[in-house]
């Protein structure tokens, strides 16, 4: 490792114990990667100091239940308890915990909620921005092209790299918390131009239009390229934020894609030549009608009973346009008495929805708008849920596996219809 003077001072403890422990962890991590240096970052998104009941009890049993204990021992992986200083560089808290205005709805016990509140206050008091969302880029943290980030959350990482042209690897809990105190992250992988070029070519030969279509394409791409960098070539009528959000979330779930190029759409792919740079595609795949149908069938493999008792939208967290669409589809209608409709979003977008009157339109139709988390992340379902309907390929990848329920996958409109009628009527494309 080549350390700058400032980094060496941090490691030597001349900038305090906490900074030293953070730097020690970053050096161990950089050496594990084989990185030779750090890059400066002023944009960190993680979950600093958060705790689930297991961690809370674990450290309590060890007699280390002070406010700084979890950050010291878990976030920084330090055996020593340290006093945690405020964030050195701008840092944001991603999803976690429970909606402060509706925690009972998702079945959180009061003592667990109090613990979430305590952890949130800890983060806020250390100058961490409380976004509580998997979509920081829709809630006020929109990095610039070329900016170096240290972000967690696979769906946000892929969006930042691909759509915004910012630079981040998929960081973890410990590396983001260490970056928060140092402004450093290993200069490795996607921070470097030569590792951002495409590796595989995907020729799209079928209509890709709806959010569902983009989710299916993303799920296919992640499956065939795994953790490599796909270059997607095709014609699209719409490739805006919501569709790219669903595409990326799917590709980072079926595979480990952290960056993609869509020729003519994403900023590092004005042309095929620009997307591949000096590299040649290792393999080319064609995504046509047959491939699209196979993805649809795979995403619906856990659905058999057409009686739907739960519809969940907002994975990744809904953009304001998606709330407007849901409100429009629900206007003058009611969610079935046999079904629940939960829509997850960020606190920022919920606040906007409230001001636009969307919140009351959704509520009067019987939809519940929730923030901070989602069903898969919180492992939360309405009591008695057997069959869910989802418009997110990512959520349908995780939810049946985590909670052992049936799940249908379709368009947003299919899902809202299911919420109103209690029946799944989605059709194979």
């Amino acid at each position: 490792m080549n350390l700058t003077r400032q980094e060496q001072e941090m490691l030597d403890g001349r900038q305090g114990k906490a900074t030293q422990k953070a730097m020690e962890l970053l050096v161990r991590y950089a050496e594990a990667l084989g990185a030779e240096r750090f890059v400066d970052t002023r944009n960190v998104a993680g979950v600093p100091g958060s705790a689930n009941p297991f961690l809370q009890n674990y450290y309590k049993d060890k007699g280390a239940d002070g406010l700084d204990a979890i950050f010291s021992h878990f976030d920084l992986d330090s055996d020593e308890l340290i006093e945690v200083p405020p964030a050195l560089v701008p840092t944001f808290h991603l999803q976690g915990g429970a909606d402060p205005s509706a925690w009972q709805t998702i079945g959180v016990k009061v003592e667990v909620f109090r613990n979430y509140q305590e952890r949130e206050a800890f983060a806020a008091s250390h100058d961490v921005g409380i976004l509580k969302t998997c979509t920081p880029y829709l809630a006020g943290n929109v990095p610039a092209r070329g900016e170096h980030l240290a972000w967690m959350e696979s769906s946000a990482v892929i969006y930042a790299n691909s759509v915004l042209g910012a630079r981040t690897n998929t960081e973890g809990r410990e590396s983001t918390s260490a970056a928060m105190l140092t402004g450093k992250i290993p200069d490795w992988g996607l921070h470097q131009t030569e590792y951002r070029y495409g590796t595989h070519r995907i020729d799209v030969d079928v209509n890709v239009d709806s959010v569902m279509d983009w989710g299916m394409l993303g799920y296919y791409v992640g499956d065939v390229v795994q953790e490599r960098i796909p270059v997607v070539v095709g014609k699209y009528s719409q490739s805006e934020i919501v569709r790219l959000k669903h595409f990326g979330a799917a590709a980072s779930s079926s595979g480990g894609v952290e960056m993609y190029h869509i020729v003519g759409v994403t900023p590092e792919a004005d042309s095929l030549e620009m997307a591949f740079g000096p590299k040649k595609p290792l393999e080319t795949f064609r995504y046509g009608k047959d491939e699209q149908r196979r993805v649809y069938d795979r995403l619906n493999a856990n659905g058999s009973d057409p009686d739907v008792d739960f519809v969940m939208l907002g994975c990744p967290h809904a953009a304001i346009d998606q709330l407007r669409e849901a409100a429009r589809l629900l206007d003058g209608k009611k969610v079935s008495a046999n079904c629940a409709l939960w829509i997850f979003t960020s606190r920022a977008v919920k606040s906007q929805a409230q001001q636009e009157g969307l919140l009351s339109r959704l509520a009067s139709a019987g939809a519940v708008l929730l923030t901070d988390t989602c069903s898969a992340f919180a492992q939360a379902l309405p009591p008695g849920t057997k069959v869910a309907a989802l418009d997110s390929a990512k959520q349908v990848h995780y939810l049946p596996a985590i909670l052992g329920i049936q799940a249908w996958f379709g368009t947003t409109s299919d899902c809202i219809t299911a919420a109103i009628t209690g029946r799944w009527t989605g059709e194979r494309p």
Binding site: R28, A32, F54, G172, S175, Q226, E227, G255, I402
Partner: protein
């Protein structure tokens, strides 16, 4: 007289230390959050070939890490719960597996001179000397 033959592989240290134990091998990538129960030390992903299998105290030999950015926190939790593997041997370096290995604090090696997935089978006895970058394999009795 029988002679037990050792196969020796050489690679790059990811995390230092020395450990030995029984190999658990998968050609698939290993999931993190949403695909593993760290408190029980078991892979839970529905379509994974190691679904329901415990990695506790094994020498985990695998292709690489996949999925969520919660990978390191899951295996970090496994260390606290006492269910972590004793060592890692893997092929594909990513930030997930690097950070996971660091916070699991187990000897880990990558970039081996032979593909460990071809050489090592589940049940073989494996010694990992990460500081020297050496893996020794004693094949399980047939």
């Amino acid at each position: 007289m029988t002679v037990s033959t050792k196969i020796v592989l050489r690679g790059r240290k990811v995390c230092g230390g020395r450990a030995e134990g029984e190999a658990l091998v998968t050609r698939q990538t290993i999931p993190g959050w949403g695909g593993v129960n760290p408190v029980q030390g078991v892979i839970t992903e529905t379509q994974h070939e190691l679904r329901g299998v415990s990695f506790k105290d094994k020498i985990l030999v695998f292709r690489g890490a996949k999925g969520s950015s919660g990978w390191s926190a899951m295996y970090h939790t496994a260390r606290l719960a006492g269910t972590a593997p004793r060592a890692l041997i893997f092929n594909e370096m990513t930030t997930k597996v690097a950070l996971g290995a660091v916070v699991m604090r187990v000897p880990s090696i990558t970039d081996l001179d032979q593909d460990p997935l071809d050489v090592i089978e589940t049940g073989d006895w494996v010694t990992v000397d990460a500081d020297r970058g050496i893996v020794e394999v004693v094949k399980r009795a047939p």
